[in-house]
């Protein structure tokens, strides 16, 4: 190993060791060795407590249902968009990704107006005669309220993974089946679906983990019977109730079990290793009715998915909104209030600062890691690869809980000053995306370009700076913008780690405002709209820079 490689690996290991491995180990130790002795006492407490037992089962069910519904929505979307030609395909494909620009819990604020007992949905459904009595979406049926929010927010990630997998299916494999007498549904079930399972599985893992550990949405719907909320409640009382440790271990264990079980079940094999050849896949051109159906279907999904966004915009603008489908009158007051309010001003400033810092860390580490992984394969580089991708499987909530537990007794105590830990959490969570973006870049650049520069007298570092980095700058800037935008969106770690108002990032400020009686929800919505606009702009910039490669960052 060269010295530069050793330095990079050492820095990466130190960072990940301190901010990823150590907190996890700390939580495990606290859960299994309370007071230094091995004990399963906390676990039996959890099992004995009907509230936590119910919460675990309920969260599992919530995540499973969300994943299934997301897949049911994403598969047909991917199928029509990969296989058919229809008008405005590019624009519609872009619109499908719109839900990603906002954390579901912000949308949930708006949806509370839509879904309330006397809200728009009930009024609409009753006027249409579909229901006869008001459905309590936010009460007895809150489970479905949360599921709907998760599905509408997460389907783009599933869609990107499935569409990529479908596009990679060698068309001659389907032709061979047609040639043998298959068609229609049987062809899809026996050949196409099994071949796109890897993508479906990858998407499902992300969606499942997200839905299983999402804290913001159930909090806004005041749905406490899920495990993330239970953990959140215990963060504040960690010192006298160590059950939280055990809950976190349970979450991690269930996440891992799902992951491994899914992998077993789908029998992941490297299908793409088989030779490709033959005819390229051709997009079919459906008749006018077919085109109408496809466009209608996509617009319908986009419309549904934008409903929470629309609800947030409406809420932020509404002056009076009660017992009617749409607000009775509108006002811009809350926008002024949102920008003038101490909490929101600080929130925006804090978020930009934290996110910038974490993005700098991500870019530096990401480029270095990707470079070693691509150009300096060494013994154990696969292990490094796996370690860097690990944050994808560690929920933000679990990470934040580990930070509070592990670092409270140290100088990094988040109760005093959470800034270093917030930056570290944001950086760790988005590091996989950055590594992947840089990795793709390095792979595209033939190593001989660097060698040519070295041959003409450049040092390795100089050839990197003068030749390679300029060539992959689009990847790096695009990846950086995404890392930044998603750091601004971080919910669970922000909610947990930022405890003093002074250090609140945007998401925590929105959550705090929501709890205020009176104009709170409206100001929170206005702030949400600002965040949405900001994120949409960031994503569009990243999209321009990354082009088609942008979708790849969200694939596993």
């Amino acid at each position: 190993m060269r010295r530069s490689t050793i330095i990079v690996v050492a820095v990466v290991l130190a960072f990940l060791g301190a901010f990823l491995v150590y907190p996890m180990v700390y939580v495990f130790r606290a859960a299994f060795f309370p007071g230094g002795e091995f004990s399963l006492a906390f676990f039996s407490n959890i099992a004995a407590n009907p509230v936590t037992r119910y919460a675990i089962g309920n969260s599992f069910l919530l995540a499973t249902v969300s994943t299934l519904l997301t897949a049911a929505l994403a598969i047909p979307l991917a199928f029509v968009s990969v296989r058919y030609r229809f008008p405005a395909k590019g624009i519609l494909g872009g619109l499908l990704l719109v839900p990603m620009i906002m954390p579901p819990f912000v949308g949930a604020i708006g949806m509370r107006q839509f879904l309330a007992r006397f809200g728009s949905l009930n009024i609409l459904l009753m006027n249409a005669g579909i229901i006869s009595s008001r459905v309590d979406w936010l009460g007895a049926s809150r489970f479905w309220g949360v599921v709907i929010m998760e599905v509408l927010h997460l389907y783009p990630i599933m869609y990107l993974n499935v569409a990529a997998a479908l596009a990679n299916v060698d068309p001659t494999l389907e032709e061979a089946a047609v040639n043998m007498g298959s068609s229609g549904w049987r062809l899809f079930r026996r050949i196409t679906l099994p071949l796109m399972l890897p993508g479906l599985f990858a998407g499902s893992v992300i969606v499942f983990i997200w839905a299983f550990t999402d804290l913001g949405t159930p909090l806004v719907f005041e749905y406490r019977r899920v495990i993330p909320v239970q953990i959140f409640d215990r963060v504040t009382e960690l010192s006298d109730n160590p059950e939280g440790y055990a809950l976190v271990v349970v979450v991690l264990a269930l996440t891992l079990i799902t992951f491994i079980a899914g992998k077993r079940m789908f029998g992941m094999k490297g299908f793409e290793t088989l030779g490709k050849g033959g005819a390229a896949a051709t997009e079919k051109s459906p008749g006018p009715l077919g085109k109408l159906l496809i466009v209608g279907f996509i617009l319908g999904v986009v419309g549904l998915a934008c409903l929470p966004h629309l609800a947030v915009v409406l809420t932020s603008l509404s002056d009076k909104w009660f017992m009617t489908v749409l607000p009775e009158s509108y006002t811009l007051d809350y926008y002024h209030a949102a920008l003038g309010h101490k909490l929101t001003f600080d929130g925006i400033r804090n978020s930009i600062f934290f996110s910038s810092m974490s993005t700098v860390v991500d870019v530096l580490l990401g480029v270095a890691i990707a470079y070693v992984l691509v150009r300096r394969r060494f013994l154990g580089s696969d292990l490094l690869d796996a370690l860097v991708m690990l944050p994808l499987a560690v929920p933000g909530l679990v990470l934040a809980f580990g930070y509070v537990a592990a670092f409270s007794p140290t100088f990094l105590n988040p109760r005093e000053n959470p800034v270093p830990l917030l930056v570290a959490a944001y950086a760790i969570r988005r590091l996989p995306y950055m590594v992947r973006a840089a990795y793709a870049g390095f792979q595209q650049i033939n190593v001989t370009l660097e060698e040519a520069a070295v041959n003409l007298g450049s040092s390795t570092l100089r050839s990197l700076r003068r030749v390679t980095l300029p060539l992959i700058s689009a990847n790096l800037i695009g990846g950086g913008i995404l890392a930044f935008a998603f750091a601004m969106l971080e919910v669970s770690d922000s909610l947990v780690l930022a405890m003093k108002e002074r250090f609140f990032p945007i998401t925590k400020a929105i959550y705090q405002l929501l709890g205020r009686i009176g104009d709170g929800p409206y100001i929170a919505s206005a702030l949400g709209v600002w965040a949405m606009v900001f994120l949409a702009l960031s994503l569009m910039t990243a999209g321009v820079l990354l082009g088609r490669r942008m979708g790849q960052l969200f694939r596993v």
């Binding site: 060698d170 032709e175 061979a176 047609v178 040639n179 043998m180 099994p194 050849g277 033959g278």
Partner: protein, 359 residues
């Protein structure tokens, strides 16, 4: 089993004419080859027969049944793909059994038929392997078994050997021919490899940019090419420009820069005075005196290859290629003057403008 009729079929992709008014008749039980350079439309014809694309004009018939309205999955053809297209999520036996399942063959019969098909391609022991655990040649055999097991009306092969290495390709040529002779099934085979076509085919259709240039058995397309394209696409050839002087039955007399030669008349060439070319294969040019047609030349170069020696001779401003089999004595040095001769039956007169393919 069916015979396949391709009746005046054309196919365009955008501005490009891929297939231009092609008519072919493939008899029942025939091993028929479509031979041509890449982009000549041969694969498009095969895919139209399989039903993966529709002709813009003309029609395709199996015996006398028009196939226009029959979708691909009901045509009962079996296509062997260039990349084999084995389903990576099914093992060898499942791949082969698939077509039988679609045909609702009962389980017991299915197992028996699959075993027999795998035996036939000598893959019986690997029935439980996954496709990515097989070598290219083994995958090829499985693809063949998958095609044969359904007892299709016709087997369609799309450059099936192009992904194999040279040794294996030779072996599989015999293998496919053997399977054809055992089953007697109609086969339509697409390739750009003239050796494959010459060594395996009952009949060959030579194609260039969307058109059929010549149909015939391997011997006739090699020995009596219809035009310059066929002559130069199949094997190496020498073309000597000249004028047709006289016609005597099947032979014509051609005046060239190298002298007057007697050669077979290729097509309906009967008008003395027309511009022609005299075609002679390198292996038909012999050094030394004798033969019906002779001329003197200068030896420009020679390459010794063991079983043969390749020579280039110059005469009348033309470079001609010759091949001597079993070269025992060393050839005369470069620049030596040599006598060259060839038999009238080994040469053929082609119309000079018959470029073929560039019409």
């Amino acid at each position: 089993m069916v015979g396949i009729v391709i009746a005046n079929v054309s196919k365009r992709f955008g501005q490009t004419v891929a297939v231009d008014g092609v008519s072919l008749r493939i008899e029942r039980g025939e091993l028929f080859f479509l031979l041509g350079p890449s982009g000549c439309g041969k694969t498009t014809i095969l895919r139209m027969v399989a039903g993966f694309c529709e002709p813009d004009e003309g029609e395709i018939l199996f015996d006398d049944r028009p196939m226009g309205a029959v979708p691909a999955h009901r045509r009962n053809t079996a296509l062997v793909f260039q990349n084999y297209a084995l389903w990576p999520h099914m093992n060898v036996a499942a791949n082969v059994a698939y077509g039988l399942e679609e045909r609702k063959v009962p389980k017991g019969d299915r197992t028996r038929l699959v075993a027999r098909a795998l035996e036939r391609v000598r893959m019986g022991e690997l029935a439980h392997r996954m496709p990515n655990e097989l070598s290219g040649g083994q995958q090829q055999r499985v693809a063949l078994a998958r095609a044969l097991v359904i007892e299709p009306d016709a087997v369609l092969l799309d450059e099936p050997l192009s992904n194999l290495d040279a040794q294996l390709r030779l072996e599989m040529r015999h293998e496919i021919r053997r399977i054809h002779d055992e089953t007697g099934i109609t086969m339509l085979y697409v390739t750009h490899d003239q050796k494959e076509a010459l060594s395996m085919a009952d009949r060959v259709a030579v194609m260039s940019i969307g058109r059929v240039e010549q149909i015939g058995d391997p011997r006739s397309i090699y020995r009596t090419p219809a035009n310059r394209f066929v002559a130069s696409f199949i094997g190496e050839t020498n073309l000597i420009a000249g004028t047709l002087v006289s016609v005597e039955g099947e032979y014509g007399c051609v005046r060239t820069a190298l002298g007057e030669f007697r050669a077979r008349l290729g097509s309906a060439l009967t008008t003395p005075g027309s511009k022609v070319e005299c075609m002679v294969r390198p292996e038909c040019l012999h050094l030394g005196q004798g033969g019906d047609n002779a001329f003197r030349a200068t030896l420009a170069s020679s390459v010794y290859l063991g079983e043969v020696e390749q020579l280039v001779v110059e005469a009348g401003g033309l470079e001609l290629r010759a091949v001597t089999a079993n070269p025992s004595a060393s050839a005369p040095g470069g620049g030596a003057t040599v006598d060259v001769h060839f038999a009238s039956d080994d040469a053929i007169v082609l119309p000079a403008q018959s470029e073929g393919g560039s019409r």
